[in-house]
Amino acid sequence: MYRQKYLFLLPGLIALTAIILFPLIFTIRVSFSGWDVYNPGLSWAGVKNYVRLFEDTRYWSALSRLSLLAISTVLIQYVLGFALALMVWKDVHARRFFRVLFLVPMMTTPVIMSVIWRTIFHESLGPLNPLLDAIVLGGQPWLSSPGWAFAAVMIVEIWQWTPFMFLLLLAGLLSLPSEPYLAAKIDGAGPVRTFFSVTFPGLAAISVGALLIRLIEASKILDTVYVLTSGGPGEATETASYYIYIRGLRDFQIGYSAALSITYLVIMIVALTIIAKLMVRFLVKGQS
């Protein structure tokens, strides 16, 4: 009865297979091949690529570097975005102007902005070091020292994506009901306590969503690293995605980079699932 209902599912199923499943299954197949610049094609190589990647310390370093970069930048973006949203939430002078101004970085093209930031960070020609010299902080080797280069990537990421947090959290703030704030005042909660007892719990669900979206996005970071530091100096800013890009499209080790990609995908799915569950437990359900 009603067997033809499956017929209606068919177009969606075909699209799903073509767009998501086929590339995924094909990449899995490639990861078991020895496809490289000398042996193009799907020659079966077994688990050789996977054995190799477990011994590839450069990959695991890049992965942990990526984790550090993603978590730290997203957390800073969240704090800054929240602060900016709180600033222009209530009746402040020219709040419409500031609301638009804070969104500008998100509207720019990441690659182009990275080029501009590379110029800003340039140690002898860029405007940043003379400025730091002028205010007695002193210029820094932004792109030639491992620590400062990592900081530079973080700064660009934070600058570019804080507006996204700002936008989501401002939308959340504007949708908060006013009644609990009245109750909090009557119940003896001052502004700081009201923030932690009313505002923050009110935005818990939207915060989890915003943090997860940004973590997913940040874990794919490639363009900023590519333009700004090319993973250097040395491997100081090399992230997992950038390393996979090097192995696949610079060294043309397609089979190996496919194995790296699949491993990276599985790790990301597991990690983000755990993070999502923890955030829901502690931020959304555990508010009391």
Binding site: E179, L182, A183, A184, I186, G188, G190, V198, S288
Partner: protein
Amino acid sequence: MLDLHNLRLAENGVPHLDSITASFAPGTLTTILGRTGAGKTSLLRAIAGLAIPDAGEIRLDGADWRRLPPWKRPIAMVTQQFINYPHLPVLDNVAFPLVRRGEKWPAARDAARAMLDKVGLAAMVDRRPSQLSGGQQQRVAIARALVKKAPVLLLDEPFVNLDYKLREGLREELVEMLRTETGTTVLYASTEPREALQLGDRIMLMAEGRLLDAGDPRAIFERPATLEAAQVVNAPPINIVPLEIDTVARMGPFGTQELGALGRDLAPGRYRLGLRAGDIAPGGPHRARVILTEVSGSETVTHLDLAGLPLVMHEKSVVAHAPGSEIGISARLDRGFVFAANGALISQGASHG
């Protein structure tokens, strides 16, 4: 003692509070009675610190509250809206003000549980407010206000958004609970004269931000000082009939009437006669057109047009007068109130109540 002195508050040039001076003794329940827009909510908000008066003083036992933010005032408040914390379970909603006051969560939860038991929500402690009915949500808000045992309790039409039966039941429960709260100054804002007469030790009448009268509810109902006070304290609203006295008393569409004791000492001139809706009855010589009939519970309020004079008739039974039809009515004119041109009461009929 809660003292208000010359309290003034205006928004966009519209006075919400106009020179309010009043005192509220501890352990008393004062009903602030007034129509919508009379300034009741503004008064409670000013006392709570949610609205900043333009002038005047608010003092509790001599302590000046002018610079005290709302969260530092020893008050509790229940509003018309069912205000709770949506993300907290019912138990923590009620415990929250105690924690803010410095109590530990376990002790605060114990006190909250006891209060929720009193308001009949012992079985709902783990639910979120959104999982409760409107009446239950308002019980949570009431429990949160009572658990604080604040010296000043402000109730701003707390039951206005509930249905009639629930309103009656909750009001009785609240009065019962407030009896045990000795020493609390309770201010209860209401638009319903009947509620004010049932509840308060004291009544305070307000209109357009002004304090019209204050005192014993029964005495004010029996003898309103002004026409404005009579309009506020009567529901359905009091009828106003033009009255002209020379050699006889002429009363608009009611014609020439014998006022008896009511008009004995009145000098010739123009007056206004206030006539309660209950003193107009169906059956009589005056033909009035029915505009609208409202049935509430087992009572009927009929809006009439008597030769251009709008009248309201209140019957203690369910009657269906067809709109547009004409009915005969009679008026107990001897039970009326005579007001001077400036609105002051100068004479009233016998046996009110």
